[in-house]
Amino acid sequence: MRSNSKAFLVALMLCAAPLLAQKDIAGEWDNRFDEDFLERIPGPDIGDYLGIPINAAARRHAESWDASLLTLPEHQCKPHPSDYGIRGPAQMRVWKEVDTVTQQLIAYHTHIFWQAPERVIWMDGRPHPPDYAPHTWQGFSTGKWEGDVLTITTTHLKTGWIRRNGIPRSEKAVITEHWVRHGKYLTVATIVNDPAYLSEPFIRTTDFVQNPDQQIPAYPCEAVDEIDRPQGSVPHHLPGTNPFLKEFSQRFGVPEQAATGGAETMYPEYRQKMKTMPAPAKAAK
């Protein structure tokens, strides 16, 4: 009895030690789509690269992209990469993995509705793997608390996308996220550094609202042959042959040069430059 009591005392005193975690982000989170709704749900227009600091290589990649690519069986059930996933239909669950003995936080896990990807954000201080380690849709993420902000660094991503109209993000990219909770709202600021396709860091912010009663539906996906094609055929546009690239600027009156994007389109002074550009040709009826 005496030894049991001592053990109980020691256990309670250990409990009294403060743990090293901050605001809790675990729970059920639902998207807010009050920004970029048309891009995020129905989908972006072909040829709309506005506000993205792409370089010439990224632009060439996007101009050769054909939406029919997504009908290929091997593309039908792929999830969004972790740097894009929260931008899509992303009802999200976040839960903690805690060491059962020490009660220290080991990792956060996330599950997202669309294509049901699950991601691990390691919180135990482990290093990132070497460059030659496998690259995956969710990548390798480590997190640390900076005050009450959870800062996450992700590497080892497969080549993915920044906008779902062919704007790529390379496997060399390093993603930094800042997760900030204010009451029932969670904001994720995502900063993409990509030496292959971006000339400057690309930032965007995504908002969630807490929904404790949320039940994320299952997302079964089965790849099928949607279109009969010759073996090995991959939908694409050769340089200079994509007939759809100007439709966006013609439809919305945005100068064609502006629609091709680039870092300068992110800044306020670009509005003055656009005034010197020719108006887009009227779309043919």
Binding site: A16, E35, P201, F252
Partner: protein
């Protein structure tokens, strides 16, 4: 009996280690845990087509307007606004930081943070500890009350966690929370998507620092989570976040007047 003694000791130890109740945080300049002062530029990577150019009449995509708001959108007439001297309707506090703009943020005094925006030449004053003065007329920027956000970890409120002190380390929040009322009716977007004088605007300002990487220099950012609650024209709250990067100086800060078009 022995167990009772042990438990008594446990309780004594536990209470001795119970965390002190948090002290009220100093407000204003003295309570700042982040520095928001300086020159900042909005980085327009979201909603570009509704921010960098004036959207076409009737386009209220992404904004949760109700039927009454839709009627205002459909009736938008910039000439009428110009005739009424209301060219600044799209530069009020609920829209100002969503516009493409540069900001100059300074402490006007120890309890007032001043935000000057060059786009529309507008000034917001964020009052720490202030309340709307009686009789003050509604204005484009309204009256903003600011505070450094209390930590979200309020503790276990007297539960076992409070007694044992087994509480997570509570950081000092780096967030500035701003509530704005007493607004004059205006536009969330330049093409007449409205907010009413009944609007309450809530904002959270957060600061981040990015170290230099192989492909980019170090950078400092702030984001502002904006929640517009308007019982008149919105079916639900309008929630967006806008992003700003620190600039080295004010050489690109270029005040321009409001434009209704």
């Amino acid at each position: 009996m022995k167990l009772g003694i042990v438990l008594g000791l446990v309780a004594a130890v536990a209470f001795a280690q119970a965390p002190p109740r948090p002290q009220p945080r100093p407000q204003g300049r003295a309570g700042a845990s982040v520095d928001l002062t300086g020159y900042w530029v909005s980085v327009i990577t979201e909603d570009w087509r509704w921010r960098m150019v004036t959207p076409v009449k009737g386009d209220a995509a992404s904004v949760p307007i109700n039927a009454k708001g839709r009627a205002v959108v459909d009736a938008w007439d910039p000439a009428k606004d110009e005739a009424a001297g209301a060219q600044c309707k799209a530069y009020g506090a609920p829209a100002l930081l969503r516009n493409p703009t540069r900001l100059h943020i300074t402490w006007a005094d120890d309890m007032t943070l001043k935000i000057e925006a060059d786009n529309g030449t507008q000034t917001r004053l964020l009052h720490f500890g202030g309340t709307v003065p009686a009789g003050e007329a509604p204005s484009w920027q309204g009256y903003s009350s600011a505070r450094w956000e209390a930590s979200a970890n309020a503790g276990s409120d007297g539960g076992l966690g409070f007694i044992l002190g087994g509480q997570r380390a509570t950081p000092r929040s780096r967030t500035m929370e701003v509530t704005t009322t007493n607004l004059r009716e205006g536009y969330l977007r330049k093409n007449g998507v409205p907010y009413s004088a009944k609007t309450t605007l809530t904002e959270y300002f957060d600061r981040f620092s990015e170290p230099a990487s192989a492909s980019s220099p170090a950078a400092e950012w702030f984001t502002v989570l904006t929640m517009v609650n308007d019982p008149e024209y919105l079916a639900t709250s309008y929630v967006i976040t806008s992003d700003f990067r620190r600039e080295p100086d004010g050489s690109k800060f270029n005040p321009t007047p409001c434009s209704a078009r």
